[in-house]
């Protein structure tokens, strides 16, 4: 009985071939492949071409596992053993196709997974490297562009104070508008660079949210009126007046959303609302929403509009860097929130987000309400005598701006040095009340020079207020300049009002 089963189940998967010493087939049971007697085994398949040398060798038994044989239109995966039984060699072919095919599936899944993981890691590394390069490029680009932009702004400002014909005035207005747009675009690029490189740190300070809302309402009422569309602004009264957070960045988010609505809406209205979600002991959840009746966004673009340099193709050229919504997305992620959008083409769009903000429990609100700007008051009140000011700046265009601004203010004696190496000698020989110091000087950096001044043995020199001037706008860099001993840092391009305010701030 067992022999019968053996015959059925084992013999079907085993083939025995008897060979002579010249690898010629003496006999074969042909249970898998047909092998003719008298045929050389080497003719059967390239695998068997090695058989003669194996028979000639001294080793008695050879085993080959998992050999793919394709013979007479039949394909099998087999184990093959060759045993020398003088005067013959016995070749046993064991068909294990089913077994090896199941192993093949497992190996396929494993190898594909390993390769995919490896290629993903490589791709991610490449993307990170590109991102690093991009951020470095933005940083350098912003630095390089700020100096010439400062000069353009400065010269335009100086020109605006001269007598001009109507035509020249119109052209100058256009130039100043373009400057302002370019400056905003540069700020956008810098903001995005800072967000993506993780260099942007949010402030956590109490501020008047109603005041921010009213400011935006006022600003955009004017802008919508110019386009003959309506602005509906709603502030939920249950929201506390004062909250804690980064006012500047929230302002940036909302202006980007409102600018966007304005850009893509030619008729109808824009709704801007802040509504109360929920309140806890010292936290409040607020929904900010900007809705418009503009062109709307196709469903397939709802994700991509938040990518950098993306603008909706509405068949007309729209101004802007295409960074606004990317900045909104990045800033909200930093704030632990997420921008959401619903839209219908031809009907309009609704952008909204929920923000969890702390609100102060104590009367800090009153203190803030009653406070006035620390830079209020004029130069006359702060400085009884004329202020002696040393400007250390190698860029002649910046020198011109500073000189013009300060001379117009009439309360400054101004000395200018091009070379940082001369500063210490100048400070010993003259009495200065303030130093305006460019950070990127040719021979010695401004922050290094500041450190030297702060270590000076004479109090009247080491305590002179220093205002740094720089084209490097990232927080990290500004913090390091302040750490060197600078009292204030102005980033280029700056307006003359910024300069005067900074001077007033450091004047004692």
């Amino acid at each position: 009985m067992l022999n019968e089963y053996r015959q059925r189940f084992i013999n079907e998967s085993l083939q025995l071939i008897l060979l002579d010493n010249d690898s010629v087939v003496v006999a074969s049971d042909n249970s898998i492949f047909h092998v003719a007697q008298g045929e050389s085994i080497t003719e059967l398949h390239p695998f068997f071409e090695s058989v003669p040398s194996l028979i000639e060798s001294e080793t008695k038994v050879f085993k080959f596992l998992c050999i793919h044989l394709s013979l007479q239109g039949d394909f099998r995966i087999v184990d093959i053993s060759i045993s020398k039984e003088e005067p013959h060699a016995v070749l046993v072919i064991h068909d294990l196709t089913e077994h090896y095919e199941s192993y093949q599936s497992a190996a396929q899944a494993r190898n594909e997974s390993v390769i995919k993981t490896e290629l993903t890691v490589i791709k991610n590394n490449e993307l990170e490297e590109r991102e690093r390069f991009k951020n470095l490029f933005i940083q350098n680009f912003s630095h390089e562009i700020r100096n010439p932009l400062t000069s353009i702004v400065a010269i335009a400002n100086i020109l605006s104070d001269t007598s001009l014909t109507d035509q020249q005035r119109k052209m100058l207005d256009f130039l100043q508008e373009s400057n302002a747009a370019l400056k905003l675009m540069l700020e956008d690029i810098l903001s995005l660079g800072a967000i993506e490189s993780g260099k942007l740190h949010l402030q956590e300070k109490p501020f008047d949210l109603t005041k921010l809302f009213r400011l935006l309402e006022f600003t955009y009422k004017t802008k919508t009126k110019q386009k003959n569309i309506e602005l509906v602004a709603v502030f939920d009264e249950r929201i506390p007046d004062f909250v804690e957070g980064d006012r500047l960045r929230l302002y940036q988010i909302l202006t980007n959303l409102l600018d966007n609505a304005l850009k893509y809406t030619d008729s109808g209205k824009i709704s801007f609302s802040l509504s109360f979600n929920q309140k806890w002991a010292n936290k409040v959840s607020i929904r900010f929403e900007v809705a418009d009746t503009g062109v709307g966004i196709p469903e397939e673009s709802l994700e991509s509009i938040f990518e950098s340099f993306t603008q909706l193709d509405v068949g007309q050229n729209k101004d802007g860097s295409g960074l606004g919504l990317a900045i909104v997305k990045g800033l909200l992620e930093l704030m632990g929130s997420k921008i959401k959008v619903t839209s219908q083409v031809g009907q309009g769009s609704v952008f909204y987000f929920d923000l969890l903000l702390k609100y102060p429990l104590h009367p800090v609100q009153e203190a803030l309400k009653g406070s006035t700007s620390p830079i209020q008051g004029d130069i006359k009140r702060k400085a009884k005598d004329k202020v002696n000011l040393l400007v250390v700046e190698d860029d002649e265009r910046i020198q011109t701006l500073i000189l013009k601004t300060l001379v117009d203010a009439e309360f400054f004696n101004v000395d200018i040095l091009n070379d940082g190496a001369d500063v210490l000698k100048e400070l010993v020989n003259n009495q200065y009340n303030i130093i305006l110091m460019d950070v990127d000087l040719p021979n010695i950096s401004g922050d290094h020079l500041t450190r030297l001044i702060r270590e000076f043995p004479f109090k009247n020199i080491k305590n002179i207020p220093i205002i740094g001037l720089t084209a490097n706008a990232f927080n990290e860099q500004i913090t390091s300049y302040l750490a060197s001993g600078m009292n204030k840092v102005l980033t280029k391009p700056f307006e003359k009002e910024d300069l005067i305010k900074a001077i007033l701030r450091v004047l004692r």
């Binding site: 390239p46 071409e49 090695s50 194996l54 596992l65 998992c66 192993y103 190898n111 390769i115």
Partner: protein, 165 residues
Amino acid sequence: MHRSKKLVVLGHFGVGKTSLIRRFVSDVFSDKYKVTIGVHITKKVVEISAGNSVSLILWDLEGTDDITTIRNSYLLGTHGAVFVFDVTRPSTFQNLNEDLKVVAEKLRSVPIIVVGNKMDLVDANDLITVLGENDIAYDFLSSAKTGSAVEDLFYKMATLLQEDA
């Protein structure tokens, strides 16, 4: 004169050993990756010069990331070896020199040709820099997809085997 020579093609999995052989033997290519288990054996006659040819018996071995695990039975009677790595995956060549030492131990006095495959996917200058930095010496940079250097590498091996005969 005509001789048969056994040539093993080995290297890590997924580097394109099977694709190189298919391109060489049948002049075909498929982007679809199919894992080789065990060994596939094919044959191609290479004509070195008039009346002088070599039958290459090509043993396409299952790829492995640990070259020491190759079955010794597959290497019996080998006359030459082609070691293939994937130029897009550093894991397949970062230990190349150690892998080649293992192969040389297993296949004493046998010519070995080292091939970087999938050249169509990378920039040649970048690759050469990377390989140089990693002290990787290679004989051919090939692409089974485009066929680049495929004939050359097998012809080179056939020539070496004929000289050895």
